[in-house]
């Protein structure tokens, strides 16, 4: 049986040779054993560069805007496929201009979890099923994959791409039974404890590099609200209120859109748990509106539609009515 990498190379060659796409976007080996890099492949010969990564932490759909006008094939685990679906729904990408090479995703590893296994990491061997062999300057370790997985992969609801043009053979991780456990841990705290968490884990750590925004496959506004000067919604310094405003509005702009690819969190040089904000909104969208993003290119978006029976008990008038005050 061939490996996923071999299958990907073969499929990519076919796609390029048959003219199904001009470019294939995928991953290649990075500069360290625990880093992978997004790459674009233009010819069948170059496909030898492609790999199925253990550390594909950035979403290659993010690069689509740089390849406008070209037909692009994407190596697509669930979150890549879903990001493309949202881009289609929003009119950023035409469905027939992308070719989705679906991959049933076994989940990616977290580079920092692997990095912390030794002083110097020399080699990583991943079976994409159960175990990872990590060779460090101090010796070899065999670690259960589950322990090294990225948080968003542990919480993934759609490891298999919901939309694709071709689905490669492989075994996907099972959808997470408890995708909102971390969110619930925060929810269970008191208001002041939640604020303290937000300040310590998010606001005070942020250096305003916008890696989270720029890494997001769905942040494509020509001028981001942080860059507006008239009015200037967000001050540019690390002021705690400006920084909080940035993170709240950034997350909010992803409500009903975020596909939980985890690029933002992976991109953050300060290890801010950014996904908790978007995951919270994902949870609310699912529970209040039975909505999940990126499943159907023809479906309406969460915030461009409504239902008569949408919840409104959060409104003060409804609350007062229930209390018989009005």
């Amino acid at each position: 049986m061939s490996t996923l990498t071999e299958k990907i190379r073969e499929a990519a060659q076919k796609v390029l040779a048959e003219g199904l796409a001009e470019v294939v976007l995928g991953y290649t080996q990075g500069s360290l054993p625990y880093r992978n890099r997004v790459t674009a492949v233009n010819t069948p010969e170059e496909t030898s560069r492609l790999i199925w990564p253990s550390f594909g932490v950035l979403n290659p759909a993010n690069v689509l805007h740089k390849l406008k006008g070209k037909k692009v094939a994407l190596i697509s685990p669930g979150c890549v496929s879903r990001a493309v679906v949202v881009l289609c729904q929003e009119g950023q990408v035409k469905r027939d201009e992308v070719y989705l090479l679906g991959v049933p995703c076994p989940g990616m590893l977290d580079p920092s979890k692997v990095r912390d296994l030794g002083k110097k990491i020399l080699r990583v061997e991943d079976d994409f099923k159960e175990k990872v062999l990590v060779v460090t300057s101090e010796g070899e370790k065999i670690v259960a994959r589950e322990e090294l997985l990225r948080q968003n992969c542990l919480e993934c609801r759609h490891p298999t791409p919901p939309v694709y043009d071709e689905l490669l053979e492989g075994e996907a991780r099972k959808p997470s039974p408890s995708p909102y456990q971390k969110v619930e841990e925060i929810e269970a705290r008191e208001v002041s404890a939640r604020w303290q968490w937000f300040q310590e884990a998010v606001v005070s750590r942020c250096i305003r590099c916008y890696a989270c925004r720029n890494a997001c496959p769905l942040c494509y506004c020509p001028t981001c609200f942080v860059d507006d000067s008239r009015p200037q919604w967000v001050g540019k310094t690390r002021d705690p209120v400006d920084t909080a405003l940035y993170h709240l509005v950034r997350a909010y702009h992803l409500a009903g859109r975020c596909v939980d690819c985890g690029s933002c969190e992976a991109a953050c040089p300060m290890d801010i748990p950014l996904r908790l904000l978007t995951k919270k909104l994902e949870k609310e969208a699912l529970s209040a509106f039975s909505f999940e993003s990126g499943l159907d290119p023809e479906a309406p978006l969460l915030l461009t539609t409504f239902r008569e029976e949408d919840p409104e008990d959060f409104m003060i008038t409804q609350e007062l009515k229930a209390l018989g005050k009005i």
Partner: protein
């Protein structure tokens, strides 16, 4: 002048310094903070010591937000600060930035108010390459004192009078010159300067600029500010007027040349509109413009950009391409 400080004498020394000055130390892997007992000495910090001189927010002027009000110049912090645990790469960064910033009063003030105690690394980190950029960590450049962890002690070299005064607060004893010099010699022999620098000096600027490799190398780049904000030598800044109610402040803050806004005119015209152009500008600045003007690259080989780049852009891929075009 050379001294030897026992490892167990480090803490008492820091406490002594902290009694007389405001002492900052590397507290965690994240970065520096006021000394409160926490001490991270395992490697360099994620945020560099640059922030002591080019802070995240430097108020320049304050004013009342009403027409006709005259702004007042902000004096800046005056208390004497000591920063312990500055890595030689970071100190070298200060020297490089100073080539540009020496006339700036805000920079001068912070420089005068700050003493730096350097700490040479036990061994190079995964992404370190200071030597390749011509840094000699033992030189003490930019520092007042430099400490070298050596067996059970720290070897100390005094660089300035201020450093000598600081060291006098410790139980360090004279000696260790031989060990220090041999460690330095050993380092230099083992870690040479990158030959790429010489090639870059000789290359024609426009040849590098117009080379075809930029597009491919820049493709994965997110054009975020992670590399520039973590870089100990990136010095570009933005100026912002912040107003709340009736109070206004003009502040200076770090900015990244990777941002689209960086070069966009008020008219909307942007000379570096494409993400690739901004990517290219950052590396051209570091390894050609600055190199040509000041004779040295605007890089100290700390490797933070390589370590933290979300897209895994590797500086050496770019430098190699630039020097071999």
């Amino acid at each position: 002048m050379y001294y030897i400080l026992k490892r167990e004498d480090l803490r008492p020394w820091l406490e002594a310094i902290n009694r007389e000055y405001t002492l900052f130390v590397p507290r965690t892997r994240d970065g520096f903070g006021p000394y409160e007992g926490e001490l991270y000495l395992e490697g360099k910090t994620r945020l560099s010591a640059k922030e002591f001189f080019l802070p995240w927010r430097e108020p320049l002027l304050v004013y009342e937000a009403r027409p006709g009000a005259l702004p007042k110049v902000v004096e800046g912090p005056a208390e004497q600060r000591v920063v312990f645990g500055v890595r030689p790469c970071d100190a070298r960064g200060v020297i490089l930035i100073e080539k540009v910033f020496s006339p700036d009063p805000f920079w001068q003030k912070r420089r005068e108010a700050t003493s730096l105690i350097g700490l040479v690394c036990e061994e190079p980190g995964t992404e370190c390459f200071c030597w390749a950029m011509g840094v000699n960590p033992f030189s003490g450049e930019g520092l007042d004192l430099v400490l070298v962890p050596h067996e059970e002690v720290y070897l100390v070299k005094v660089i300035t009078e201020a450093g000598k005064k600081l060291l006098s607060l410790s139980r360090a004893a004279e000696g260790g010159e031989e060990a220090f010099l041999s460690r330095e010699k050993e380092f230099k022999a083992k870690f040479p300067v990158s030959p790429a620098l010489e090639k870059l000096r000789e290359k024609d600027l426009m040849t590098i600029y117009e080379a075809p490799f930029w597009e491919e190398l820049a493709l994965p780049c997110l054009n975020c500010g992670a590399c520039t904000f973590l870089c100990p030598t990136c010095y570009c800044f933005d100026v912002q007027d912040e107003v709340v109610g009736s109070e206004g402040v003009r502040v200076r803050l770090p900015e990244a040349c990777m941002f689209e806004l960086y070069s966009r005119h008020a008219s909307g015209h942007n000379p570096r509109r494409s993400p690739m152009a901004r990517f290219r500008n950052r590396f051209m600045h570091k390894f050609k413009y600055f190199l040509d003007e000041y004779g040295e690259p605007l890089c100290v080989g700390c490797g933070r950009c390589n370590e933290e780049c979300p897209a895994n852009i590797n500086l050496w891929d770019v430098v190699r391409a630039m020097s071999e075009v």
